[in-house]
Subunit: 199 residues, 2 copies
Amino acid sequence: MSLTSAAEELLRANLLARVSITDEEFTFFRQYVRPLSLAKRQHYLMEGDICTHMAFVTQGCVRSYSVDPQGQEHTLQFAPEDWWVSDLYSLLTQTPSTLNIDALEDTQLLLIKYAAIEEVYARYPVFERFFRLLMQSRYVALQERVNASLSESATEKYNNFLRKYPALVQRVPQHLIASYLGVTPESLSRVRRLNRLAD
Amino acid sequence: MSLTSAAEELLRANLLARVSITDEEFTFFRQYVRPLSLAKRQHYLMEGDICTHMAFVTQGCVRSYSVDPQGQEHTLQFAPEDWWVSDLYSLLTQTPSTLNIDALEDTQLLLIKYAAIEEVYARYPVFERFFRLLMQSRYVALQERVNASLSESATEKYNNFLRKYPALVQRVPQHLIASYLGVTPESLSRVRRLNRLAD
DNA sequence: CTCCTTTCTTATCATAGGATAAGAAAGTAT
DNA sequence: ATACTTTCTTATCCTATGATAAGAAAGGAG
């Protein structure tokens, strides 16, 4: 049995943050895990591809986004280190993806083969528990985002983003944050200027 | 052992749509289920309450909504028969709810005690599987809603709502659909008029 | 049937944020 | 160092949608 890499230890820690995992369980899980490197701007998933793996980011940052009929990009998720990302709909249904996932920086992923996941759940239900817990917290966060989109102005959305994700603001281009918030880059720039004037 | 009610059979069918459940498993689960009736406009949950149960709607319709600092209501979910509803954040953290849930019609719920759910999962992991699957599909649907809020105009959002939830349009007041879509009732009325003119 | 509440519509006016255009600043590669 | 790309800003103008106001229509309760 090979030693675990630093990346795998990050994955183990991510699992342990939600559930208790034994060495035996983790060793079993590792069978279905493989690393993937992405260069900055390289795509992990492109619209139309079928998503076959769940990706866990161990280094760098990716984002998932859709492209609307006018060619506008809309960012659905930023995933820096310690985050999971995939096109869940494509993964679950094994149909062509409507999302794109690309790297905002040079990035290291660990990929878990979706075709093996049922086997993992059957052997060690703790992994099913893990993904239930993960989905639950993601659901709560997404609902909060829907609520924000219904109730907040551009300024409020940006200021709350600053508060919630201060680290991302430092490493992600502003026009991508704009596309996450649902405003144009020019409007976000205006929001920031008015923030500055008001301070 | 008492006979199952029609409501309980609806619950059983809802579980069976995602997982295989034996009579024994369902009988065990039933221990933690109790019915609740709500009159139209009656609240099941009010902001500040701690959410202690998951609710499954067997008759009627409820909605969950938040109230912003200006007193505006924002509808997060409509839950007609066969849907699950709760304030998941309050449920998971046992902290005061930020959401309200009220009945749009006379409604029958089945409540599952959250404090018992870990016991249920431990005894019969199939229930954990069920809630994982439920959370997954809810997550996918919410992400689609976020995507719509980022990319669609009021008209598109309304027309897609019509397409996705034709039954709800018949039974839910339009101003509540407006509050779900993130537009004012007056704007929705305008959208409908322009739709009519264009037909 | 009548009153009262809720829901929906229409019209006018106001505004937050989009569209467009241009350039500045920062980052990257040769 | 220079050129090229990406990112960010500022300014002007424009439009989709919000705010306000008023009334019509529909639905319930007595």
